[in-house]
C-alpha cells in the first residue's frame, strides 16, 4: 500500500466505524423508547386522555405532532422517518416546552456546559500532568508524598462532596469576621440577574463569577486522576532502557526529561485526555444541579424527571456522537504521537 494513502484510508475506516456506532445507538434509543413495557408515547397519550379528557384519537394526533412522528405508520416506516430526522439533528420538539425544537434547547445549553466542564478539564489536565511529572522525577523529595497523597484523596472522594465543600468554603463560611468569599447568590445560576446578555464586561464578569466555583469543582474532581496517571506513566518511563541509555550517552538531564521520558510518558495520558473530551458534553448532572447551572446536564435531569422523551433522545444522541468522536480523536492522536501505531494496517516496510 502506498504510504501516502495509509492515513486517509485509516481515517475512512475509523469514520465508518463511528457512523456505525452512532447508528446502532440511535436505533437502540428508538426501539428502547418504543418497546418499553410502558411505552412512553402510549403513556403520554393515556395521560392526555385521562387528565384532559381528550379522545384517544385527539390525544394520538397531539402526541404524533409533538414527537413529529406518524403513529399510524408501521414501526419500520417510523424508524426510517426518525433516522432521517436524526441525521439532520432534528429530534422533534420538546415535550416540556411544546413547540421548541430539541436541537434549539441543546444549542442554548451546550456552550455553558462546554465552557465550565471544558475549562475544568483542561486546567486539571495541565496542572495535574505537570504535578504528576514532578512527583515522578522528584520521587525522593519531601513534597512528593504530599502531592501523591492529596491526589489519591481527591480522586477518591465523589465530585458532589467536593462541590458541597467548595460551596461551604466559598459561599457559607465567614472568615475573620468578614463575609463569605463569594456571595452565596453567585453560586447559583449562570449569571446574575439584571445583566444584559452580550459581549459586555458586566455580563462577562458575572459569567466568570458564577462559573468560578463550578469550574473549581471540576478541576479538583479530576486533577487527582491526572496526577496519578502521569506519575505512574512517568515512573514507568524513568527506568526505561532508552532513558538509561540516554543518560549513558551523556545527554543533558533536561533533554532526557523532555524528549525521552516526557514524550513517552505523555502517550497514554494524551489519549485519555482526548477520550474525556467526549464526556464534556454530557456535563455533570449532579454538579450542575448543585449550582443550578443551566447546562446540558441539568437539562437532561429535567428531561428525565419530566419524561421529556424527545429531549432525552436528543441529548443522549449528542452525547453518544461526542463520545464516539472523541474516541476516534484519541485513536488518531495516539497514532500521530506513537510511530509504532502509525504503521498498523499499512505494510511495515513501506
Amino acid at each position: 500500500m502506498p504510504k501516502r494513502l495509509q492515513f486517509p484510508l485509516f481515517l475512512l475506516r475509523k469514520l465508518l466505524k463511528v457512523a456505525f456506532t452512532v447508528w446502532v445507538v440511535t436505533t437502540l434509543i428508538f426501539f428502547l423508547i418504543r418497546l418499553m413495557p410502558s411505552n412512553p408515547i402510549e403513556q403520554y397519550i393515556q395521560n392526555l386522555v385521562i387528565q384532559y379528557g381528550m379522545s384517544y384519537e385527539e390525544a394520538t394526533s397531539r402526541a404524533a405532532s409533538l414527537f413529529s412522528l406518524d403513529l399510524s405508520q408501521s414501526m419500520f416506516a417510523q424508524y426510517l422517518e426518525y433516522l432521517k430526522d436524526a441525521v439532520r439533528l432534528d429530534f422533534g420538539t420538546s415535550f416540556l416546552s411544546p413547540g421548541v425544537q430539541v436541537s434549539e434547547i441543546i444549542a442554548a445549553r451546550l456552550p455553558w456546559t462546554l465552557f465550565t466542564v471544558g475549562t475544568g478539564l483542561i486546567l486539571s489536565f495541565i496542572v495535574g500532568t505537570a504535578l504528576g511529572a514532578i512527583a515522578a522525577y522528584r520521587r525522593e523529595s519531601w513534597y512528593e508524598p504530599i502531592i501523591s497523597g492529596l491526589s489519591s484523596f481527591l480522586s477518591a472522594i465523589p465530585d458532589f462532596l467536593i462541590a458541597i465543600f467548595l460551596i461551604l468554603f466559598f459561599g457559607v463560611f465567614t472568615w475573620w469576621g468578614r463575609g463569605s468569599i463569594v456571595p452565596i447568590f453567585q453560586l447559583r445560576g449562570n449569571y446574575g440577574a439584571g445583566v444584559n446578555i452580550g459581549w459586555n464586561w458586566p455580563f462577562i464578569k458575572s459569567v466568570l463569577d458564577h462559573s468560578f466555583v463550578p469550574i473549581l469543582t471540576y478541576f479538583f474532581s479530576q486533577i487527582g486522576i491526572w496526577v496519578l496517571l502521569m506519575k505512574g506513566s512517568t515512573t514507568g518511563c524513568l527506568n526505561a532502557d532508552y532513558a538509561v541509555i540516554a543518560r549513558a550517552r551523556g545527554l543533558r538531564p533536561r533533554k532526557i526529561l523532555t524528549s525521552y521520558i516526557g514524550r513517552n510518558a505523555m502517550l497514554p495520558i494524551a489519549t485519555e485526555f482526548a477520550m474525556r473530551l467526549g464526556f464534556i458534553i454530557g456535563g455533570s448532572l449532579i454538579i450542575e444541579q448543585l449550582f443550578v447551572y443551566q447546562g446540558v446536564g441539568l437539562e437532561l435531569l429535567k428531561a428525565t424527571t419530566n419524561r421529556d422523551y424527545p429531549l432525552m433522545q436528543g441529548i443522549f444522541l449528542i452525547m453518544t456522537i461526542a463520545i464516539v468522536l472523541s474516541n476516534l480523536f484519541a485513536e488518531i492522536l495516539y497514532s500521530l504521537l506513537d510511530p509504532r501505531i502509525r504503521v498498523k494496517g499499512g505494510s511495515k516496510h513501506a
Binding site: A248, G250, D338
Partner: protein, 368 residues
Amino acid sequence: MNTNTPHPTNTVPSASTVPSASSVASENAKGAAMDPRPVLLDINKLSIEYRTKRGKLKAVHEASLRIRKGESVAIIGESGCGKTTLATSIVHMLPRNATISGGSIGFFPEGKAEIRLEALPEKEMRAVRWNDIVMMFQASQSSFNPVAKIRTQFLDTFQAHNPEISTDDALNRSRELLELVFLNADAVLNSFPHELSGGMKQRTLIALSLLLDPQLVILDEPTTALDLITQKKILNLLNSLRDSCGFSMMFITHDLGIVTQLADRVVTMYAGVVVENAPTADFFSTPLHPYSQGLLRAIPKLNATFEQLYSIPGSTPDLVDKMDGCLFAPRCAHCHARCLTEIPALRQTDNDRWVACHLYEEVTHGAY
C-alpha cells in the same frame, strides 16, 4: 580434566612452575606486567555497597583490575557476583542506593591527564560518558527512544557533546559508522526504532556507541536478547572494530565460548571479589583459583554457558553478612584453617596474572 582431588598441587599443575617465572619479575608487582600497551583504566581496591533493608550489601569488595589500550577484558562469574555493579560504577550510573565506599578508578585517556572517575562531579562525568567511555547495559531491549527517528537520536548525541558540529557533518559521520557496521545508513537514519530488527538495532547501537570515538567500550551481556548466530556476528563485528578503531573493551558475559574468542584477559569474580585475573589462554589451560577450576570443570565444552555451572556444590554467600576468611571457603575442596580466618589478597603469580587464594601464598609475591 582433573577429578576432585583435595591436594592443591595436584589440581594446580602450574603452581610449581610459577616461582621461576615470577622471580624474574620486579618486586613492584604493579609495574611488572610485560604487556607494553599503556594502561587506560586502573580500578584499584574498589568497594561498592548497596543500602538495603537488611543492612549494607557489599556488592563489590576491594576489586582491582587494569585495562590496557586496545585490550579486551572479559568479566565472568556467577549471577549476582557484582559484575554489573562494578561496570556501572565506572560511569557513575549505579542505582541510587549504591555508594562507592572505597578505592579508586583512574582513567588515562590518550593525550589527556588522568581522570579520577570515582570522585568526578556529575557534570564532568557527563562529558566523559559516551565521549570517552561507552556503557551498554544488560538486556536492554529498547535502547532507542521509541517515538524518535534514529537520525534524531544520533544528532542528540552530537548535540550533547559537540554542539558546534553542523548537522551535515554529524549526519555524514553517522552514515560512515552505520556503513561500518554494514547497515544501509540512510534507510536506518530515517527509521523509527521499531522498524529495525533486533540485530539491526544492536548494530545501530554499536554505530552510535562509536560515534564520538570512545576509548573504552563496556558491554554488559550486550547480546543476550539475540539468537546465537546474531550474537556471534555482533561480537565478531565489535572485535574487528576494536582493531580498526583502537578502543579497549570490557565485557561481561556468561558464555565462555565468547570469552575464548574475544577476550585477551579474563577476570573472574566471586561474591564481589576479583578472585583471578589472567590472560585468556593461561586461564583456560591452567585456572588457578579453585572457583575458576570449578567453573571450567563444570562445563563439558568450552562454548557452553553458565547454566551448566550449578554443579559447583553450595551457593554464593549472603553479601550482607560480615566477611571473615575466604568467601569461597564453604564451597572449596581445598579449604584449610587459614581460609576461615584470613581473607586472601589478590596477589601476583606471574608477570601478568593474579589470584586471590591462600594456596598460592608461597608462589606469589606482592599484592595487586
